[in-house]
Amino acid sequence: MKITDLKKKLDKFSLDIKSLEIPEGKIYGIIGPNGCGKTTAMKLMAGVMKPDSGKIDYCGLTPRDITMVLRKPYLLHDTVERNLIYPLKLRKIKPDITLIDHYLEITGLTDYRNKYALTLSGGEQQKLALARALIFSPKLILIDEAFSNMDIESVAFFEDYILKTQTEDPLTKTPSEPKTFIIISHQLSNIKRMCEYTFFMHNGEIITSGETDKLLSSPDNDKLKQYLNYM
């Protein structure tokens, strides 16, 4: 993905990304204080929001190859299972029962498959939304603080799961085309564990970026240093 001169003015701030290149097949992190534009940037990348100006070149990816898991996920007024298979239904793919069972199992929702999804707890809703985003194997997956309501054990499980299935088919365990993940999180542990490369945003701009370990252990920017001091 290549972003050039992307601008979006909102009530409280303006997003301005001059130039950004995100090579495919890796896991990226976006960090920054509240209101710095992380979610707006992600929504623009996902096509949920339209920019005022600028360009996003998806390098051959279509909207059907991209998904985003929102912080407050939208769940259909329907059962857990029907929520899970919704993206497959949109693509007229008959869902394989093994696939459904697999995702119900990893989310711990096997016993709730016929339950109304909106009765789930916040953490369970996030797990369902995450599984729904992964079930159709999109090439670009944008995750906006989707672990925020999960317990520590579940977060660790999904971190492992994403790391494993990024390059491997979850059912056959055979190598697959590497997927690209972009993750927003306020938990630096998520970013450190999962992301190869991280962007730091402040006041609507990406002010520094680099390999995650290096960026977080020896920050080259005062704003980033200040941000990390509070974490």
Partner: protein
Amino acid sequence: MFELLDRETLGIIILTLQMTLLSTAISLVLGVPLGLWLDRVNFKGKSILVLINRTLMASPPVVIGLVVYLLLMRNGPFGSLGWLFTLQAMVIAQVLLLTPIICGIVYTASQRSSSHIRSFAVTMGATKWQTQVLLIKELGNEIYFAAITGFGRAMSEVGAIMIVGGNIRYHTRVMTTTISLLRNRGEINQAIFLGAILMLIALAIQIIAGILRKRERRTDENY
């Protein structure tokens, strides 16, 4: 009781149901997309359009009846259709009353949740058509409420249909206009009987709609 339910009364009940169901169905077909469209678009004068719709939601039925009468009267712009004092005229008046109500309810519901639904649809890679289908499905409860409200309004309406229907025996006489006529004649027992039947029909339709809605949720498994 059965003496009261003669052939004429049965005809009145059937005509009432025809008029009410037809006008509710047409108003839903017009009002739901209009409400969704009104939420989706932004243009100069949109607030005026919303204000007009809200005013029409509370429009007095006799005024609507009068407008339809003027349009359909022999010398009116649509007089050649010969629809005045027919079922068609009554349905048109009902549709003009119901459509703004349904549109208003759907617009308000859509304003509250459509942006979340549309964003979700984008994240799932839905096409424009799939997004519209999703919107209607997710706003199902509100659309159901709009339909029931519209149906209730159509069922209880007197003023407009009296003007454009004329309350003609065996032709355009419906339950509400008959009740009004019976009261004027002092035939209170028959009026109360018809009123009770009207309430029972409303209750039966609510129950049937509720059952259909539950069944629709259960049987939609065509993945």
